[in-house]
Every structure is written in C-alpha cells, then in structure tokens.
C-alpha cells in the first residue's frame, strides 16, 4: 500500500496502467478493511491449534436466545401444556402461582413495587425481555435437571409463566412466530451505567461535626467457641456422618492406630460395653491403652464436644 502513491506519481510524473491497477487494488483492500471482511492484521489461524467446530457441534451447544428472537428453535407450547409441566417440575420451588417457596425466586406479581421500600422483582414487574425467560428455562431449569426440557416444553412453560403474570390469555399458544410480539412491561426502564455518580472529597481535618455522629445500627461479633445449637436426631446423624467422612474415616475405615472400624460389629462391642458416655469421653479426651491410641478428638481439636458426640453416635449406629 505504501508503494501506491509513489507508483502513480513517479519521478517522471507518469501515471501508468500498472499503477492504476495498484491504486484500484489498494481501494479494494481499504474497502475490505473498513467493511469488516478482513482484519487490519489478519492473524486468523496463526497458531493452527484446535479443530474447526462443525455446524452440528455448534448446534449442540449454541443455546442462547436474543431479544430479537435470534436463536429460537422451531416449536410451540400452550399455556395449558405449560400448566401441567409447571405443576410437575416447577411448583415445588416457585409455588403454584409463582409466589416462590422459601427463598426460591418469586416469578409473578409485584407490579408497581419497584419504587417501594421492599420491591418485588418478578418477570412481570422487573424483567426486560421474554427471550431471557425462554433462554433461562432451557439453560438451567428445572434446577435439578438442567437442559432436560424439549423446545416445545420450554415454549409451554414460558407461556405458562407469562400467563401467571397476566401477560397472555389462558388459550395462548406460544411459538417462534409470535414470540417477539410479547413485550415485558418493564423493558423500557433499563438505563446505562452512570457511575461514577458520587464525588467524595479527601478532607483530612474537621470533616464532620462531632455532635452529628450517632451509631444508627450495630451488630456484635460472633464468638466462635460457642457450641453448635441443639439439633434434632436426624440432623445430628447427618452432621455425624459428614464429620466422619471429613475427619474420622482415615483411621476408622482402615483400623489405623488400633481404631475400631466402622461397620465391624465386633470392633465396637467391647467399647460399647463401657457405655456411650465413657466412649464419647474417650473420643473427646483421647485414649492410649490396650486397644491402641487416639489423640484428643482425633487431633481435630477445633471440633466441638457436641460434634464429637454426634460422630461417635454415627459410628456406633453404623456398626450394629
């Protein structure tokens, strides 16, 4: 390219046909650069690593949907079909009316609450795009079995959730063709980032009136040495099992150091004969004697006495 101007106005001032050709070529390159067809410094395939991704391979993973409908597959689903699927696969967490169970997300309601002190941000009250709903249901719902729904099922569940938000009628059938006609009510209320939006100064002295300083909220620290709260037997069993797996199984699976093996009934009979209280005490204080040795709490002294008691119960229960 750099040669082109020299060619067209060379030392003799001639403008030859070859030079004109070069000029034309330069314009073509310039066009390709600005049009995006060719990169300024095209290094495509420079490393030659990886393998070409085939259309079929891409189809298997390319699951995203854009607000303009790009990515939506063929298919359709009715509110009616959606209700059946929703009750079966969604209501356990989200509630039959999209009200949310426990801390699982609320899906419906909340219109007009965005300026309240406790806004309810649902699909109807907050979300911006129908495509996000379709995309998200296919992407990761139901929670325990992501990407398990067919396209028709995703259309149906999407339709039902829109219906729960009073955005479509109960006889609606959602499809790729009518998808982009449904707009969510809050979609015009999103604005770009405006930060930095505050300007503090770097005052060093007399920055505040001492009389103005008041503690308006306060949380005391947690003292970590306190025992874990009382929990029911089933939870204790689960806690014991977890502690066993994490800390105790190394010795109590193999018999290392003379440790009684969990599941070996005979290993535990003598020890249980002394009573559970004594057994738990030995586990907490440590033991050296006839059977072998065990450091206090197996060496994991950060475990609470209660945790040790729970794990002893678990091990004994598992060795009957």
């Amino acid at each position: 390219m750099y040669n082109c101007p020299d060619s067209i106005t060379d030392s003799q001032g001639r403008v030859g046909s070859v030079s004109l050709f070069k000029l034309a070529a330069a314009f073509v390159v310039l066009f390709l650069l600005t049009s995006g067809i060719v990169n300024a410094t095209d290094r495509t395939g420079y490393y030659g690593l990886g393998t070409p991704a085939s259309p079929e391979e891409i189809r298997g993973w390319d699951i995203d949907i854009r607000p303009d409908g790009k990515g939506l597959p063929e298919g359709q689903g009715s509110v009616e079909d959606g209700e059946f699927l929703y009750e079966q696969q969604c209501a356990e967490c989200h509630g039959s009316f999209g009200e949310g169970v426990g801390r699982f997300p609320v899906l419906a309601g909340g219109e007009g609450t965005l300026t309240d002190s406790r806004p309810s941000k649902t699909i109807g009250s907050y979300w911006a795009h129908t495509s996000t709903l379709w995309d998200y249901i296919r992407r990761t719902m139901p929670f325990t079995a992501p990407e398990s729904l067919t396209s028709d099922e995703v259309y149906a569940v999407t339709a039902y959730v829109l219906y729960l938000n009073d955005l479509i009628e109960d006889d609606f059938v959602l499809s790729r063709d009518n998808f982009t006609s449904i707009e969510l009510p809050n979609n015009l209320n999103f604005i770009p980032d405006q930060r930095p939006d505050v300007a503090n100064g770097r005052c060093m002295q007399d920055c505040k009136d001492p009389a103005s300083i008041r503690i308006v909220s306060s949380v005391m620290p947690v003292v970590r040495a306190v025992a874990t709260p009382v929990i029911d037997n089933r939870a204790a069993q689960a806690a014991g099992e977890k502690i066993y797996g994490q800390y105790c199984s190394l010795c109590h699976k193999s018999g290392m150091g003379g440790a009684p093996i969990v599941g070996e009934v005979s290993d535990w009979q003598d020890r249980e004969a002394g009573g559970m209280v004594a057994l738990k005490k030995r586990a907490i204080d440590g033991y050296t004697g006839q059977y072998g040795f065990m450091p206090p709490k197996g060496g994991f002294t950060h475990l609470t006495d209660q945790e040790i008691e729970e794990v002893v119960e678990y091990m004994v229960d598992s060795s009957q």
Binding site: R43, G50, Y136, A199, P221, V222, G299
Partner: protein, 434 residues
C-alpha cells in the same frame, strides 16, 4: 492426656503383640517413629505451660513426621478456624449460594486458592479436563474447538488481579447486618491468574470487525452466561487455566475460566465452555433480572461492570478484637476496578479527622493493595474507618452519598466507607453512623 504416656503406649504394643491384624498395625506404628512421635505431640500439648520456657517443648524433643505425610500439604491444624463460611439465610440452598473469604486472617495481597470465596448457581461441577472443550463461534472466519492442551500451547500471561462479587457488602445497604469482615467484605479475593489473552483467541478465529459483544458461557448446570463488550475483550480479558501457580481450583472454574480485571466477578465465567461472537448483547438472566442496579425512581442500571474503589480495615475487626491498651498495627485492604490505589486514609473518630496510612504491599492496577498504620490504643472507644483513593482521583464515598443517589434497593456495587466500633473492652462491632 499425660505427657509421660510413652512407656504405657510402648507396653500396650507389647501386651497386645500377636498375629492379628490390629497388633500388626500397632507394631507398625511403633516402628514408624515419626507417626508415634506425632501423636505424642498431640497428647502433650493439652498440658498447658509445659511447652514454655524453661521447659523444652515436646515438639523440640521428639521426631516429627516424615516427608509426604501430606503429599499435597495443608495448613497447620492450629489454623483450622481460617476457612470459608457461608450465611445460610442468604440463599435458598447451598447449590446456588455463596461463601466468604476469611479476610481478617489473611496477610499480603494474595488470597490462598482454597480460601477464595465460592459462588455457584447450580453447584460445583467436576470437569474432566481431557473432555473439556472451549468452543468459539459466531461472527468469526473459523469457528474452533480448543482442548486444554491447545490452550497451553498459546502465549501465556500471568497477572495479579482482584476478583469481587458485585453483591459484596450488599446486605448492608439498609444498615449494619453482618457479624464480621468475612461477611461484610468477604466476596473478595486476589490471585495470580495465568492463561491466554482473549484477544489472542479472537485473532486466531478471525473475528469480524462488526462484532461488538461476546457471550461467555460456563459448562456448569447453570450454563452461567454473560455478555462482554468487545472493547473489554480486546483490552485485558483473560482466559485462565491457572491460579496462584497451579491449576484452577474446581471452585474457581477448573479447568478454564474468564477473568475480566476490575469488573464484576459474575462476568468472569467459570468452567468456561463457549464464546460466541455477536453484534448485540444477549440480555441473559444474570444481566437483566440480576446484576442490574435498581434506582429509587424505579429505573435500573444495566451493564454496570466496574467494581469501584473500595477499602476495609481487616484488623482490628470483629474477628480481631484488641487485648488491652498499647501499640497495635491497624491494617486492611484497598482496591479499585479502575486502576491502582493512590492513597488510603484512616480515621479513628468516625470520619472527623483522617491520617494517611502507609501502603505496605506492591501496588498493582486492579489488585488488592494492603495498607497499615501504627495505633497506640489508650483503651477508649473509637470509630475506625478507612477511605481509599484510586489513580483516577475517585475518593471512596460515604453511605450517605451513595444512598442519596441510589437509595437502598440497588443490591450491588456498595463501596461505602465502612465503620468498626472499637469498644473499651477491645471488642469490635460492625456499625453504621448517622
């Protein structure tokens, strides 16, 4: 247990000697002096004082365990309290939840890999790196599938950058609510990240000049996804496979993740499996329903990527109370998604007067920076605050300043000056001031 347990133990080995399995194992332990001596150490240190001068500590008078007792290695068992913790009431379950980095116990600016906060949306996937692929497609000349081996053959770069969840501190918009610095600021970490510049990969596939956004997607059940602007991707975004010198931890995206330095941790997609090049954002759930900042007028800001300048005192803190009058070292962390930390000021009187703290670590852009200040405590109550200034001149704001603009429902990007109330007994409480 008694210090002089050795003869008893030796005797027990003799008494029980026989040809059954247990005796054999015990005898084996007796012979393996290291293991036995180790256990003696455990038994002995229950007896307070015996390891202090003029007595010689038991660990000085015995053999320790041998090499590869822990082939990977682990912290001292006396550090067992230094661990990630969660707050169960924050989320519906532990598969879509968060745990917090124990900031009060950390030193320097690097967060050990095993202590980096966790954030999952569908639990922790266990990925076989041999079967992991990175797909790059969309507005490119040559869509590619890359193996981990392919990525390791490309030019490699290492940077130290912080990683912060944009919800860090979000529970405190309305008032003090969390019990310690682990929970007020612990969705925060800083690691050395090693990988390939995303720009290198984009050149390799020949991205279109018309492309302006990239969708990054994870291989977890959430297929966690965010739209990333092309300017960032071509600037400093990394596709990383290593953290603090070793392969990424599973919790941090093993075998591959994105790092967008200085930006919302949520954009740094873990278990990265796919990059799609396009010309518009995708408006995924995590950039519309979540990670948008609701303002008092009902409008919401979207694509609020940058983590603004922030700081916190990590000691004293609720986890690090003071033990009587005298000299102490106040220390803490400062960071900014816009670049380097320039100054950190500390107040002992709730913001009436400030003193500039010393910077005690290396200062890197978009990395944690440690500050410190000598403190002679006379036992009187104090309101401790830190205030960071970054290289753009931005000064960390007060709660009042943030709330005046953003109200209390924006959840994300809370970077207000934080206050600890040091009480006469040395206890430190999390407080907010009028």
């Amino acid at each position: 247990m008694k210090h002089d347990a050795t003869p008893e133990n030796a005797k027990s080995v003799k008494v029980s000697a026989g040809n059954d399995r247990r005796s054999f194992m015990l005898a084996g332990l007796g012979l393996a002096g290291g293991a036995a001596a180790g256990s003696m150490g455990l038994l002995a240190d229950a007896k307070a004082g015996s390891n202090l001068p003029p007595d010689v500590p038991i660990w000085t008078k015995s053999l320790g365990s041998g090499v590869v007792a822990h082939p990977y290695g682990q912290p001292s068992r006396y550090e067992a309290q230094v661990e990630r913790r969660t707050v169960d009431w924050l989320t519906a379950d532990r598969m879509a939840s968060i745990s917090f980095t124990p900031l009060a116990d950390l030193k320097g600016i690097i967060t050990p890999s095993g202590l980096v906060f966790e954030r999952y949306h569908s639990g922790l996937p266990e990925i076989d790196p041999g079967q992991h692929r990175l797909m790059i497609h969309g507005m490119v000349k040559q869509p590619l599938l890359l193996t981990m081996d392919d990525l390791m053959r490309m030019p490699s770069v290492s940077v130290i950058r912080f990683l912060e969840c944009p919800a860090n501190g979000g529970m405190e918009w309305r008032g003090a609510q969390m019990t310690g610095v682990q929970f007020t600021h612990g969705m925060l970490a800083c690691c050395e990240w090693t990988g390939v510049l995303l720009s290198t990969l984009l050149e390799e596939v020949g991205f279109s000049r018309d492309a302006s956004w990239i969708l990054a997607e994870g291989a977890d059940g959430a297929h966690m996804s965010r739209s990333i602007p092309m300017e960032k991707a071509l600037d400093d975004t990394l596709v990383v496979y290593a953290q603090n010198g070793e392969a990424l931890r599973p919790e941090q995206g093993y075998p591959l993740r994105l790092i967008n330095p200085g930006w919302e941790g949520n954009t740094c997609i873990k278990w990265l499996r796919r990059l799609e090049i396009g010309d518009k954002p995708w408006y995924q759930r995590e950039e519309t329903s979540k990670y948008t900042d609701l303002m008092p007028d009902g409008k919401a800001r979207e694509f609020t990527f940058v983590q603004e300048c922030n700081s916190v005192i990590t000691s004293p803190s609720p986890e690090k109370p003071l033990k009587g009058k005298g000299k102490y070292w106040i220390e803490g962390l400062a960071w900014s998604g816009r670049g380097k930390i320039k100054h950190v000021d500390v107040s002992l009187d709730g913001g009436i007067s400030w003193r500039e703290a010393g910077i005690t670590s290396i200062v890197l852009p978009r990395a944690l920076t440690r500050f410190g200040l000598e403190f002679d405590w006379d036992g009187s109550p104090a309101l401790l605050q830190s205030r960071a200034v970054d290289e753009t001149g931005y000064v960390q704001p007060t709660y009042q300043q943030l709330r005046d603009v953003r109200g209390t429902n924006s959840i994300y990007h809370k970077n207000a000056i934080h206050t600890w109330n040091l009480q006469p007994g040395g206890t430190v409480a999390n407080v907010q001031l009028s």
